[in-house]
Amino acid sequence: MADYTKPLPVLPLKTSVLFPHQMLPLVVGRPNSIAAVEAALATEDKTVAIFSQLQDETEDPRGEDLFTVGTLAVIRKMVRNDEMIQIVVQGIERVRWQEEVTATPYLTALVNPIPTPEDWDTNEEALHREILTIASQILSHINPQAQSALQQMIGQVESPIHQVYVLSSLISLKIEDEQRLLAAATQHEALELMHEFLVHELRVLEVRKKISEQAQSELSREQRDYVLRKQLRAIQAELGEENPEQADVAELRRRVEEADLPESIRKEVDRELARMERLPSAAPDYQITRSYLELVVELPWKRTTSDQLDLLHARDILDRDHFGLEKVKARIIEHLAVMKLNASARSPILCFVGPPGVGKTSLGKSIAAALGREFVRESLGGLSDEAELRGHRRTYIGAMPGRIIQAMRRAGVRNPVIMLDEIDKLGRDFRGDPAAALLEILDPAQNNQFRDNYLNLPFDLSQVFFIATANTLDTIPRPLLDRIEVLEVTGYSDDEKFRIARQYLLPRQLLDVGLTSEQLALTDAALMKLIRGYTRESGVRSLERTIGSVCRKAATAFASGRTDTLTIDAADIEPMLGHERYRLQDLRKKIEPGVAAGLAWTPVGGEVLYVEAVLLPESKELALTGQLGDVMKESARTAQSFVRSRWAELSLEKQALQCGVHIHVPAGATPKDGPSAGVTMATALASLYSHQPVRRDVAMTGEITLSGLVLPVGGIREKVLAAHRAGMKLIILPKANEPDLDELPEGVRDELQFVFAENVEEVVAAAIPTLTPHLQP
C-alpha cells in the first residue's frame, strides 16, 4: 500500500497519540502542518505519517522534537475552515522514524513500518483476560449505562493488541504512557503496560467514587435539615407561632424599649438587633450578638439610687459597724455634706491602706449602707490580665466584658459603691498591666467615658464611689497612687481591741454559737488575756477566732446540760486554750552593754527589735547578720562611723574603738530593711564601746546622718503601740515625728514617756544616762 521508499509528509501531533485502527478528528492550524496535510491530500492515496511531539510547546518541530515511533494514517475526510483544516485520520500501522528529508515548507521523512507483533501464549492470554475484567470494572465506574455497548464494541475488535489500543482511548493516559504503549515491541509488553495503567485507573476511580459519595451524603444531610427547618417554619406560621429566633429578637426588642437607653446607645442597639434578625440561630454570631444585647440592656445607663443624705443617720451606721477609724468616718461624712450642697459632685476615689484584719473591706459595706448605695466588691488580688478589667473584644471566642462592667451590671445602678479589694496585689506580666487599665477607670477626668473592649460603647463611671483597699502602698504604681485619696486605717491598740471585742466580736460570736450574754460572760481580765496572751496582730481577725473558740468550748458545756451562767475569768483561759502563746518577753529582764531596743514597722503592725553588738578584739571588720537589707547595712556603717568619730564627746574607751564589731538583729530568719534602726544601732554601739548598758525600758526609732542628725521615720503609731504592748516606758522618737503622736489613743500616750531627739547625742543621753552625765538635761 504506502510506498515507504519515498518520503512522507509528517503531521506532528500535540497532546495525543494516534493508534493503528483508530479514527481521530484533528484540527490543523500550524502553517507547516497545513502544508503537510495539503501535500498528503494531493496524493492519490492520502497518506500522512503522524508523530507525537515530545513537548507541547514546540511550534515548528523537527525530527528531534518528535517521538521516534508514530503511526501511518490515511486522511478519510477533510473540510476547510478559515485558516484551519479539519480532518479525520485513520491509523493504519506503526512506523519508525528513519530520517528527515525536508523541513520546509513542511516536514517530510523516510519511515519504516513496524510489523504487528505476533507473540501469543498462555501468559499473554491470561493477561488479556485480566485486562478485559478490569476494563469492564472501569467501564461500570465510568458509565454503567453505556457499559454493555462499550463492551460489545471492544468485543468486536478481534486482535488483542487492537483491543488494547481501543482501551487506551477510553481511559485518560498521559502522552508518555500512550507513546510507551504504541512503541511496545511485543504484545506481551503492550498487555503488561495496559494492565498497569488499568489497575491504576481503577484505583483512582474507586477513590474518586468514595469521595463523591461522601460529599453527596454530607450534602444530602444538610439538604434534609434545611427542608425540615423550612417545614417547621411553615407549620409554625400556620399555627400563628413565631419561630424561636424571631421570638428572641422580639423579646430583646421589648426589653430595649423598657430599658430607656440613651439616644446614642439606642441607635447602636437597633443596628445590632437588625443584624441579629437576619442571622440564622445556628450562626455562631447569633449567640454572641444575643448575649451582647442582653448585657447592653441590663447595664444601668440611667438608673441611679438616690443618696441618703442624713448626716446623723450615716454617722450612726458607721459607728454601729466599726469602732474608731475616726479619719475615715469623718471623710465619709464630709462627702455626704458636699453631696447635700452639690448634687452633681464627683464621687471620691478612696484607698484604705492598713494591715489585714482591721476592717477595710467591711468598712466599704458600711459606707454603702450609710450612703444608701448599692455595694459591689471586686477582688483584684492576683489579677494579671488587663483584659480581665477592660474586657475582650467581641471578635474573640468566649469574649466577656471586663470586671468593672460586670460589677456595674450586678449593681444595677450607675452610682454604686465599688470596692476594688487588694489593689496592691495586682500582678503584671506579658498580657499587660491591669494597673494601667485602672488608671483610666479611677481617673475622675476620664472615667465618664470609660470604654470596655467588649461593650465598645462609652459608659459613665463618674458617679461610682470607688474604694480600693491595700495592705501596703509600696507595690501600687505611682501614677495610680496619684489618682486616689489614700486613707490610712491603722492597727488597733490593746485598749481599742478590748473595746472592739466587748462591743462587736463577743456578741457576734455568741450569736454564732447560739448562746446569750446571760449564759456566758467574759471578765475584763479574761478578755485582756486573750488579747495579750493569745494573739499578736494589728487587726482583730485572730482575736475573733480565739473568742469564737472560747465560745464554742462554753457551748459544749451548755449542750452537755449546764444551765447556770458561766463566767470565764483570766484563770479559766489557760485550761481552755492551753498555755499563752505570746508573752511580754520582748522586754528583756537584763540588758548587756551593746544591746538596744529598736522599733520596726511591718505590714501586720509594729514590732520591738533588739540590736545586739559585740566587740571582736582580734579583728577590724564590721560583721552584720540577721538578714539585713542594704539600707540597713549602710545605716549600721553610718552609725559605727559616727560613734567612732565622737569618741571624745561620748567619753568612749579609745582602745575599744580599735576592735572589730559584730552587729546582729534577731530574729535571724526574718528579713529586715530600712533606715529607721539608725539611732538604735548608734545607741547599741555607744553602749558597747563605753561598756555601759542601755536602760532596759527604753525603745527608739529614727534615721541618722553621718553628722549625727536624727531624721523622721514612718509608722510611728504602730511602733509606739508595739512598744507599749511590750511594756516599754520611755520612747525616743525623732523630733520631726512629734505631731504623729496625735494618732495615738490617749490611754497609750498617757502611759508612756517620750523623748523627741534632734541629734544622736540626745538619744544616747536619754538611753544611757550613766554614760554621759554631762549631757543630762
Binding site: M1, H21, L41, A42, T43, D45, M78, N81
Partner: protein, 120 residues
C-alpha cells in the same frame, strides 16, 4: 464553525460503530435475489478496474482494492473531502457455496456488479 465541528464529529461517530474493524474503508453493497441467481452491487465509483480484486472464501464474497484520487484541474487543491481513498475491503456472506458457483462481473457507471449463479 460549530456546525462544521459537529458534522465532523457526527461522521466520526457514524463510523465509530466499527472504527477499529479494519484499517481500510468499506464500500456499500446491495444484494438482490432473482429466481435462480444472486446479484451483488458494490458502490465503487472512481476505482480503476486494475486496482480491484474479487475473491471467494466459502460463502463469503470479498472485494478489496485501492481507490486512488486523481487530478482533473491544474493546481487543484482539496477544499473539502468526504470520499474515502486508499485501501478498501468489503465482504458479503451469501447462503450458498461460492466455490462451485459461476461468477460473472461487470463494472458499470461506477458500480461493480457481481452475478452469481449456483451450479447445483
Amino acid at each position: 464553525m460549530k456546525h462544521e465541528v459537529r458534522r465532523i464529529l457526527q461522521s466520526f461517530f457514524n463510523e465509530a460503530t466499527e472504527p477499529y474493524g479494519a484499517t481500510c474503508w468499506c464500500p456499500s453493497a446491495d444484494i438482490y435475489r432473482a429466481q435462480t441467481r444472486w446479484l451483488v452491487k458494490f458502490d465503487l465509483a472512481g476505482v480503476r478496474p486494475e486496482d480491484l480484486q474479487l475473491r471467494t472464501e466459502g460463502r463469503r464474497l470479498v472485494v478489496s482494492g485501492v481507490r486512488r484520487d486523481f487530478a482533473i484541474l491544474e493546481q487543484q487543491q482539496a477544499y473539502s473531502m468526504e470520499i474515502s481513498y486508499n485501501r478498501f475491503e468489503r465482504a458479503v456472506e451469501l447462503p450458498l457455496d461460492l466455490a462451485s458457483a459461476q461468477i460473472e462481473t461487470d463494472y458499470r457507471d461506477g458500480m461493480l456488479l457481481v452475478v452469481i449463479t449456483p451450479t447445483a
